[in-house]
Amino acid sequence: MQVPMKPLLPAASLIALLLAAPAAHAYTAYVTNERDNTVSVVDLDKQAVVKTIPVGQRPRGIAIAPDGKQLFVCASDDDTIEIIDTKTEKVVGDLPSGPDPETFALAPDGKQLYVSNENDAMVTIIDVASRKAIDQIPTGVEPEGMAVSPDNKVVVNTSETTNMAHFIDFATKKVVASVLVPPRPRGAAFKNDGSEVWVSSELGGTVTVIDPVAHKVTHTIHFTVQGLRADAIQPVGIAFSKDDSLVFVALGPANRVAVIDTKTYAVKKYLLVGQRVWHLALTPDGKEMLTTNGLTNDVSVIDVADLKVTKSIQVGRLPWGVAVSPQ
């Protein structure tokens, strides 16, 4: 006897189930709150802070390991870089950063961490596994921004007083070239394909594009925003879109993020975000760019395809840096 097949779920239930299904991503963002001495854990689906982790004093630079298991946070006034276990959401150790670490770069494979030590004009290389400083490289006065090439062969360090981008060869641990840029260089970022390095100059109000092989400046990008004095435009954070077609530059007290076309080097759009925008991070799917806004105490979410600010998520006081989990 044949029993008529019964649908497993009525159509209405199926639709309800589909609607209730989680969004495509469930990324977690981590934001350092410089004034609160905390890291906010932000669920990007819920668009809310789900946990606040107490950390050392004056947390600023932040990065996440490629496997997402560890988070590294500069506790500037404690002269250390703290390691947070992302599963337990607790500080589990620290790294010998040297005095007043502000920011650092993590090698693409997560094995080394490059820290700029502002007070002694050095770049310190730390081996993450052994938690030991393995080398120190003399660089320019007041080193600031750090970036590592995608192949982990070149480290770029900007120096605030000498106004230069120093290119360090990882194999020989030597500065192989120094390129002059406009005053107070802050951020540096490699294109995902490694073909260019972009350096922001906070006082110069510009972004310099450098050929990392020839060590030559190829383009200088200027910013003009209607109704804004030039001194309010202070470029700091730089982040590329996943396909390298766009660059997002945080313009500090201009309260805007400039979106630049990497083919034409022209600014496509200025997006109004929160107050005093400093740093940026892209979600792993490349769909959203997050910004930290120091005075409005929030994170703005930019839709990369539409180039629109879609959300503002309140975090702690004086948010500085942001990192997004790879999963």
């Binding site: 005053p183 006082l203 110069g204 109704g227 004095r229 309010a232 202070q234 007290p253 005093r276």
Partner: protein, 202 residues
């Protein structure tokens, strides 16, 4: 209202000079943040132009009074936002013009207030540098005369002065970070108020 009118005129000039030279490092500036002496309307406003209202907003007593109330830091920001909504609802067909005048009043008032704080910080930075120079000089004098037995009395006096100067310098230095935060607090309030006015415009 002369000061307000002058301030409005200065704002017009700074708006016109929006493409002025990029900032330079001020050696006397005591704060870690880069000095931005004047705000730009574009930092806090993306609505219709308010330039026409910068010199006239203070002539309307209702707008002048509301501006004075909501720019005071002791008024909770939620109450200020409610006051803006109530003002917008009462403005009827003149809502847009009156809200733009209010925006001009809020921007002028808080930019002026912030400018006064910046000027105070400039004075603070200069005085602190003078104190540091004085400390260095007195310290050198104490060292120079320490081996001279005849100079014992003047040296005691100098050492006492040095102690006072050091204490004063340190006390002032400890207040720098909180004093440097005042322009930020004003900017935060300005941003919140301008957003509330823009939201009321619809």
């Amino acid at each position: 209202m002369r000061a307000t009118a002058l301030c409005g005129a200065a704002l017009l000039l700074t708006t016109a000079a929006a493409q002025a030279a990029p900032p330079v490092r001020d050696p006397d500036w005591p704060c870690a943040q880069i000095k931005v002496p004047l705000l730009s309307i574009g930092q806090v406003w993306t609505g219709p132009p308010i330039d026409a209202h910068l010199t006239t907003w203070a002539n309307d007593p209702v707008i002048a009074d509301l501006t004075r109330q909501i720019t005071q830091r002791r008024l909770p920001i939620a109450d200020a936002e409610q006051a803006i909504r109530t003002f917008a609802a009462a403005a009827g067909t003149e809502k847009q013009a009156r809200l733009l005048a209010l925006a001009a009043g809020v921007f002028s008032t808080l930019d002026l207030q912030r400018g006064q704080v910046i000027a105070g910080l400039d004075r603070f930075g200069r005085r602190q540098k003078q104190l540091a120079a004085q400390l260095r000089d007195d310290l050198a004098k104490v060292r120079d005369t320490s081996a001279d037995a005849d100079a014992a009395a003047p040296q005691r006096e100098l050492a006492q002065r040095l102690e006072w100067e050091t204490r004063l310098f340190q006390q002032r230095q400890q207040t720098v970070s909180s004093v440097c935060d005042v322009p930020n607090l004003i900017e935060q309030r300005l941003y919140a108020l301008m957003r509330a006015i823009q939201a009321a415009l619809g």
